[in-house]
Each structure stands twice: as C-alpha cells, then as structure tokens.
Amino acid sequence: MPAVRRLPAILGLSLLLCPAPPARAGSRVPAVASYRIEATWDEERKTLAGRETVFFVNRTAREFPDVLLHLYLNGFRNTRSTLSRGLPPPSGSDDFGACELKRVALHDGTDLTRRVSFSPPGAGNPDDRTLARIPLPRPVRPGETLVLEVDFESRLPRGVLRTGWKDDFVFAGQWFPKLAKATERGWRGRPFHPSTEFFADFGDYDVTLLLPGEVRGKVAVTGRVVEETADEAGRVRVRARAEDVHDFAFSFSPRFEVKREIVAPKGQPKVEVLLFLQPDHRRSRERYLRATREGLALLGAWLTPYPYPVLTIVDPPAGSGAEAMEYPTLFTGGTTWLAPASGGEPEAVTLHELAHQWFHGMLATDEVSEAHLDEGLSTWISARAAERLFGTPSAVVSAFGVPIPLGSLKRPLPEGEAQDALDQAAFSRSDPTLRETWRSLDDAAVVSNAYSRAALLLESVARTTGEQPVFAAVREYARRFAFGHPTTRDFLDVLGEVAGPEARDLVERGWTSAGAVDYAVTVATARRAEPLAGYVGEGSRRAWRAPRAPGRSWESTVVVQRLGEVAWPVEVEMRFAGGKTVTRRWDGRAEWMRWRITGPRLISAVVDPRRTCLLDVNRLNDGLLTEPDPTVARAWGHRLRFLAQNLLELFALLAVLPGVPL
C-alpha cells in the first residue's frame, strides 16, 4: 500500500502552512505536491517569467530536512548538462534553454535563495543544474505542509526532446521548478537524463498564464481552462485547473484548429475530448478523434474507466520535437500531411499515448528507473487495441517527402515494431530490463527494453499462459494501484495473484535477463528402424538373431536445443508421413531435449509452432525438415534475377543505382 493511502490528510497542523492550496473539487487522492503558478510568456525572448507557490504535504512517515526541486529546462542550459549528451549538437542560441531560480522563500518570508545548491551528491555530474537542493530552517515533519514561494524564469529552447517552440507553436513541458518525488526513503530525484522521463507526486494545479491575445481559445492545458480574459495590453489571461495530476503542460499556437467532442463510452463516464490540430494535418482530424473515441471505450473496458472528465490532444507541427508525449489528461500525437490510411498513423501513436493516461497518468510509476512499467504496458496494450480497432498496418516507405504505403507488406503489432528488442538481445545484451532505466548503457538499450521487449514479453506471456488471465491481472493492477505509484514488484505480485505463478515467473525471467530466448531444432532425422538382432533372452533361452534388412517402420530423432539464456515453456510439433502429428510440451529449462519416435517417417519438427513466444530471436532455426525443400529459395532466386535484370538495365540507362539516395 503506498504512503499516500496510509496517512490521513492532517492539514492544519502545519506550522509552515498559511495559504490554502488550490481548491479541490472532486479530488480522489490526497494531494502531496500542489502548485499555484502565474507565468507570463515573452514571445521575443521565448521565456516564461513565473511565480509559483508550492504546497508540499508530507504524507510519509519521515522528516524532510530539505527540498529537492527539478529544474528540467536547465538540461538545455549548456553543453555540459547530463541531458546534453543526448541532444543534437547546438546550432545557435535558440537551442539553449534554462530555468533560473530568482527567489526562493518560505511563505513567512524567510529567504532561502542563498541556500540553493545544485547537483546534490550522487547526481553524477557536478556541471548539471537540473536538480536543486534547498536546506530548510527546520524539517517538514510527517503530516506537515510546506509552502514555498518561488520566482523563476524559464527559457524554452527551439523544440527538442518534448519541449520548446517552433515558429508560433509553443509546447511547454517540464517548464516550472517542480518537486522531486517524496518517498519513505526521502526525496527521489535524478538529474534530467536524455533517455528517461519523470516521476512525481499527485496534487492540484492552479495555473494562470499571460499569453499573446491571438491564441485566445487556442491554449491546450493539463486539466481544463476555467477562465480566459483579455487584458488591457491585448494579451489573454488564461486560468487552468487540474486535479489529481502529477504534472502540468500546456501548448498554444494561433494556428491551432480546435475540435471539441463529448465521448460517452458505454457504461463509462463522459469525457470531453479536445483536439488542437495543425491546419496542414486536417486530413488526420477524424483519425485522431476516432482512435481516441474508440480507444477510450476499449481501454476503459480493458482497464478502468478513464479517470478524468477531460482529455486534450495536441497535434504538433513536424519538426517541433513535441510529438508523441504523454502528460496527465493531455498528450501529443504526430502525423503528416499525406499520412496514408493503411500506415496506421496517427492511430497507433494516439492509442499509445492514450494508454499512458493509465500507465503513467493514473498509476504514476517511476519513469526514471522503471520505464518498462509505463512504456512497456502502454506499448503492449495499445498494440492490442490498434490491431483490434484498425487491423494490421502496412509498412510505409518515404521517397522525396511522399509516404508510400506498401499495401501487402504488413507490420503486425507489436512484433513488426519491436524487432529492435530481439536485435538487442541477440547482439548487445547490455542491460536487463530491471536495471534502473537511467543506468542503461545507451538509448537503444532503454528503448528496446522499456518499449519493445516489455511489449513482446507481455504478449508472449498472454499467448503462453492465457490471454484472459493476463488481461484480468493488468486490469486489477490498474484498479488496485490507481494514483498509487506502484513498482515492478507490485505489478509482479498482482500478476502472480491473478494470472498465476507461471505468468509472473515468465515476466520476471524476461525482465531480469539481458539475454535472449532462442530455441532451435538442431536434429530432425528419420531412418529405417533396425529389427531386433544379436543375442536375445537369458540363460538356456538365449537365442541368436541374425541382422536382417530394416523393416517398414522408421526411427525418427528430434533434438531441440535451448541456445538462449532465457528459458520458456514450448511445444514441439513433429509431423510424420501420412499426416500424423505428435506434439510434446517441454518446460524449456534444460540445455537440450531429445525425442526418439518409432513409426511413420518424420517429415518435420518445429518448436513453438503456434508462435506463443515472440521473444525468440531466430524464427528460422525453430524447425527442421528431414528432406530439404528448395521451393522458397528458388522462388526468391527467380525474383532476385528479374530485379537484377531491371536494375542492370536502369544502370545502362542512367548508370545510377535507383533509389540511392532519395
């Protein structure tokens, strides 16, 4: 049970508490980190000058002698930050951003500005300024509320890595000084890392933004806009409120085309859906909305009903760096002018980010250390939803800016998008999924583990131990830990409890090893069975039988070897002449297994014929024929020759390899 549920809200006892935190209407979770922010956008300087009041309610059983604040935008401050290792080389001043603390004080006026220090011990990079530590005059005791006044100025970089601006489009993510996560072991916060995301406590936000007048009605926010008024200088004052959320992002652009729709999935509460669309993406409007509408109904049925009354989709312009990111009650999509219908985008990205509303927005797992919990579950369940709602998408190639769908070349989900996990398991093997995400060797390890491997693993477990139990376990996990910051252990416990120990064990195996699953049929032979020959019987009944020509039955031998580190229960299917099929189950744990069967002649042996384990890195070696069949290679030889003939003719015409480089 997480801390927030164990402790009642003991407001009023606090010595540090003075003003009331943002008013709460219908909150379902005791607030820990709440913010009241006022910020003014400076279009010229691309800055937000802000003043925030931070309310921290200590709902843990320990004292907090200091405050740890994330200043995420300082990741863009200079080329020595931890984040900069993952950014493209800067090309000008626009590529830099910052979050400066102008003044930090307690609500009673005690100034703490001079106490601020950066890069606390263990942060690993003395030059990084994305984590600020502020010692307090006296600790925040359990049940007490700390009220902190912070003046800050945030400069947004040109759009990169989820935040920034492009032309008149602005997406502000991680833009304000934000508390680290309070846990029973103290603050949990890491410097802003290029391949990991965020972790924070739930709370309520009351945010007032002063923006250019032209964006009136075109401001997308976490939660909802409750008030919009023009000021005397022609600007628009936008007030937004969000409850039970752990982050606040907003976006505005005079170009946005706003579409509002009420979605009422059967048996679930109504949701107001707001789409902020780029004009050149008009063709994708209905595709965004349909994916959201049907996704809300499906995920609501599979998990729990969507927990908020409002959902906002921001469609960013290409090149803004803001594509495909999730925030509570708000996510960004990503599409293109000519996005072909059969390519499955923007539907797939919409469903993925929508799934994050549960696996991140509502569950609020630690994305910095356990990215597989949000990315893996979202990737898996959204792949399921996409296949169910829209069918298998086609591969799309792009030539000269024109996307061309390859109709017959299908990209089944999640497999077609997750082969990087198998490459990682076959070649790199740098990190097991359960290594803290930020400690992974590189971005490829993070992406393949958190997204692809986790999705393939969950799909494989569903296919191996049964789909319904796995779905039931995931639903129970979402229900039980709603607003509860669960960990990998919590997920595994629920999985074991609901789907059974085998499901739990398999997921654990897949997450604790960096290695591969690989089963290979290494022997499949059939020879005439030798009739009994030699000395037979005992004592006086011992008789000699001379060797005879082999009879009509066959002795078939099949050997399956486990070549990968990770064991998986598999079936082995042996097909015999005359149509007989024998299937054997093997727990897959030993190094190899041999079967000898006498009877009709063996035709083929295949391990995992029903493709239950998608983690197997080599499907080709999953089976052997006793007699080679050259048909497929011959067909390809034939195709290749015709291709080569035409390419050669093109050479004669142009003497350039076609398609290189477009």
């Binding site: 990209r411 083929s604 499907r619 080709l620 052997l624 497929v632 290679a633 067909a635 015709f642 050479f651």
Partner: protein, 323 residues
C-alpha cells in the same frame, strides 16, 4: 504527318530497333547472364538458409517484415553491411559511400557498371546500323560497327554518366537537408520541395540522355569516329530543338517502363508449384526486359532518323535534270 513529328519518330525508332532484333537478343543474353552471375551467391546462400527450414514457408508468397528481420538477424551480412543498408533504406546513403558497399549490393554495383560499359559499346554497333541504309539486321555488320564505334560511344556514355551523377549530386544530394529541414513551417513545403528536387534531377537526366542519344546518332552518321565531334554535334542538335528532343526522350522512357509497370501490377508471382508456370513467367519477364532494351535502342534509332532527316532537309535540293 511531318517526318520529324514526335509520333512518327517514335514509331520509326521502334521499327528500326526491331530490325536489329538479333543484336537485341544478344543484349538480352548479356543482361540475363550478368543478372544470373550477380545474384548467384545470394541465391545459393538462400538455399543454405531456407531449404531445410519449415519457417521459410512464410517467405514463399513474398517478403514478410518480421520473418525478414529474423533472417537478417541470423545472417547479418546477407545483403551486405547492415548499417549502410539501413541508411540506404532511409534514403540517406551519400553517393560517396557507394564504393564502400559490401556484399550483394557491391556486386550489383560492379555488375551494373560493367553492364553500362558493355551497353555503351553495343550502342556503337546500333548507331552504326541505324545510320546504314542496308544490312540493318546483320549481326556481322553490327559487330564491325561495335569495333569501329564502340569506344567512341563509350566515351560519350561516360561523359553522359558524369552528367547524370553531377545532376544527382546537384539536385538530389546537395539540397536534401534543406528540403527535408524540420525548420520548414508546413508539411507540404517539405514534400513539394523534395518533389522539386526529383523533378529537377529527372529533367537534367532527360536532357543528358537526349544529348547522349543524338551524339551517338551523330557518331553513326559521321565519317570519322570522333566522340567529341559527335558530342558537339549532338549537343548542337538538341539545343536547336530542346523541347522535342526532351519529349522524345521522355516518350521512350515511358515506353520502356510501361510493360514493366504492367508486369509488376498484374503478373502472378511464382511461389512453388507448377514448373511450367515458372517457365512461362521467366519467358514473360524476358519479354519485359527485351522490350526495355528495345525501347532504349529505339531512342537511338529515332534520334538517327531525325538527325538524318534534318540534315537532308537542310541540304539544298539536287538540281532537276531536264531531259
């Protein structure tokens, strides 16, 4: 219809090319043999990898993305260097890296260059035959022309290739970053600028091809086999009638592609079964390739007829002999 009208030239070119059918069959044989040789290692490797694997069944009908990924994972060098292949797939492999390709792609590149060289030599033979009044279909005369005009034709071909590569570098490679830049405001700007790149390249290539064809025609018609004089004459001819020369080139370009497109759209693919179907498909494919060779040659035939006609029209008419 005027003798220099496009449809007339187009038809004349095709008829002229058809009369050299023996030489065309020879060119087809050359093309097919090179293709056979260049794909042999890969085809044989595929037999090693797939013949005793039941999973190969999934590749019988066509490519399968997932199974293909498994195949390339189990045999990373199958199609050559993986990293370069990926960049090739994304369309960002710079021209300068072509010599560093490995595996089947490198083989294809080498065979392609060889094929281009041999085709240029043969083009000398075709140019000679189209310029001649008699013995158009004679293989012996064709080879005499290959010996006489092959090398000059190759020189013209190499210069043409340099022109095409130059156009590629100038119109496709150089502005790539700029036209795909994320700084562009709208999606359609990116697409239209990229298409503009393609159109500029195709236009330049067509121009180069037109000059090459007229130069080879001039080579066949000239008394001396000087490639540079022929080039000057071809260039002059094209500059004198740029629109029609380009249109002629484009017409033959489309003619060549037409049967191939039909084939790709409608022909069944062989995935095992009846070997007679395979034989029929191979014959159909050879017909498609032969038609492409014919179209390319017909361009030269049309160019020669056009140039000849123009020269005859430019000459003063012979005085009438009164009797």
């Amino acid at each position: 219809m005027k003798g220099s009208a496009l449809p007339f030239l187009w038809a004349r070119g095709l008829v002229a090319a058809a009369t050299t059918w023996k030489a065309l069959l020879l060119a087809l044989l050359l093309n097919a043999s090179l293709a056979l040789v260049v794909t042999a290692p890969l085809a044989s490797r595929l037999h090693d990898l797939l013949d005793d694997r039941p999973a190969a069944e999934g590749l019988a009908k066509g490519w399968d993305l997932v199974l293909g990924a498994h195949l390339l994972r189990s045999e990373p060098g199958l199609l050559g260097d993986r990293a370069r292949l990926e960049r090739l797939e994304q369309g960002v492999l710079p021209l300068a890296e072509l010599p560093r390709l490995s595996g089947p792609l490198a083989g294809l590149l080498a065979a392609g260059l060889l094929h281009a060289v041999l085709s240029s030599l043969l083009a000398g033979g075709f140019a000679g035959r189209f310029a001649a009044e008699r013995d158009r279909g004679s293989l012996a005369a064709f080879f005499t022309d290959v010996v006489r005009l092959g090398l000059p034709s190759l020189v013209i071909g190499v210069l043409g290739l340099a022109g095409v590569l130059g156009a590629f570098a100038l119109f496709v490679e150089l502005p790539r970053e700029a036209t795909l830049s994320p700084d562009l405001r709208w999606d359609w700007e990116r697409t239209l600028l990229s298409l503009l790149r393609l159109i500029a390249f195709l236009f330049a290539t067509s121009a180069v091809r037109a000059v090459v064809a007229q130069s080879r025609a001039a080579l066949g018609l000239a008394r001396t086999a000087n490639p540079f004089l022929a080039l000057a004459s071809g260039l002059g001819f094209v500059l004198g009638r740029p629109v029609r020369a380009l249109l002629l080139e484009i017409a033959f370009g489309f003619t060549a592609l037409f049967p191939l497109v039909l084939w790709l759209l409608f022909a069944p693919s062989w995935s095992g079964g009846d070997p007679r179907l395979l034989a029929l498909l191979v014959a159909g494919q050879q017909a498609v390739v032969l038609f492409r060779l014919l179209s390319r040659t017909a361009h030269l035939g049309a160019a020669t007829a056009w140039m000849k006609g123009a020269r005859e029209a430019g000459r003063p008419a012979p005085a009438k002999i009164e009797s």
